[in-house]
């Protein structure tokens, strides 16, 4: 792939829209677990990769919004739209679509839909990702999340070593009490397990992770 293609892929990754390490599509026959916890929202995604391009899974989402709190149970299909493998980097663009149900604290239970587009670029010491995600259930319940991340690794870790990253996460979530959150965090991974811990500038803790097996 030419250098201009690489630059285009990186720009697309930055501006299109969660992470190579937490990509919903992993390796053929691989299972993935991705939990994330914040004060007023929680995600748990379980995926099985049918191939290196497609995965299916189930997800649970909890959102404590301005008017009510909602819990979503979603069956999900994920497709790797594009992947650019370079000697020193990789770039991924993934699309997810799902459907299921919603349980709400103030409204009747209803059907719900989920869609997300995410892109990431990762090299040995640099990392970025963008995500756009929507959870919709009728006209009244509509949660959207837009995320951008940049990170760097202070050292080159080998395959069997603990990998350490410093990441800055920017989240904008509609219908939430604090829609904009900027969260510096540490991201650690060892073998097939990743762990993230951060605190937003408003003092809201964030805990996330992923495991492939």
């Amino acid at each position: 792939m030419s250098r201009s293609y690489s630059i285009c892929a990186y720009v697309a990754a930055l501006f299109l829209c969660s992470s190579a390490y937490a990509n919903p599509v992993s390796f053929k026959g691989g299972y993935g677990v991705m939990p994330a916890y914040n004060k007023d929202w929680t995600d748990l995604q379980l995926n099985y990769s049918l191939s290196n391009r497609q995965s299916v899974g189930v997800s649970g989402f909890y959102r404590e919004g301005l008017n009510s709190s909602s819990t979503f149970g979603i069956g999900q299909y994920n497709y790797l739209l594009a992947r650019w493998n370079e000697l020193d980097s990789q770039t991924n663009v993934t699309f997810s679509l799902g459907g299921g149900g919603r349980h709400d604290s103030r409204r009747d239970d209803a059907l719900a839909g989920y869609a997300a587009v995410e892109a990431d670029y990762e090299a040995r010491r640099v990392y970025s990702q963008v995500l756009a995600e929507t959870l919709q259930s009728g006209a009244a319940v509509q949660y959207e999340k837009y995320r951008g991340r940049v990170g760097f690794a202070p050292y080159n870790a080998s395959f069997d070593e603990l990998n350490t990253w410093v990441v800055l996460q920017l989240d904008y979530m509609t219908e939430m009490h604090d829609p904009l959150r900027i969260t510096p965090m540490a991201r650690l991974f060892y073998n097939n397990v990743a762990f993230e811990l951060g605190v937003s500038l408003q003092g809201i803790p964030f805990v996330g992770g992923a495991a492939h097996f």
Partner: protein, 96 residues
């Protein structure tokens, strides 16, 4: 003559397992920049019965496969396994 053939057969049976070397396969891979993402490569090759050992070098972008004695893994299977893990093979080198 019969004695000679019998002696040669016994010699072949004793010596053959000793000369059946393990193979060292070195695979250059594109996109392998993160240990978490490359776990699938190790898992896939470790599950193959011919494979004794798998090592991933992220700096050199090399997957090193050591087969069991007398065993081999064809190029097609290596390429397929790397592709299934989401990566791209650049070159496969073999050494006995």
């Amino acid at each position: 003559m019969k004695w000679l053939i019998a002696a040669f057969s016994v010699f072949a049976m004793v010596v053959a397992p000793v000369v059946a070397h393990a193979e060292e396969i070195s695979v250059s891979v594109k996109g392998m920049v993160c240990s978490f993402c490359a776990q699938g490569i190790k898992k896939t090759f470790s599950a193959q019965k011919e494979v004794e050992k798998v090592a991933v070098d992220l700096d050199k972008k090399i997957v090193s496969i050591t087969t069991k004695q007398g065993e081999s893994v064809p190029d097609e299977r290596i390429t397929q396994a790397i592709t299934d893990a989401g990566f791209e093979v650049v070159e496969i080198k073999r050494q006995k």
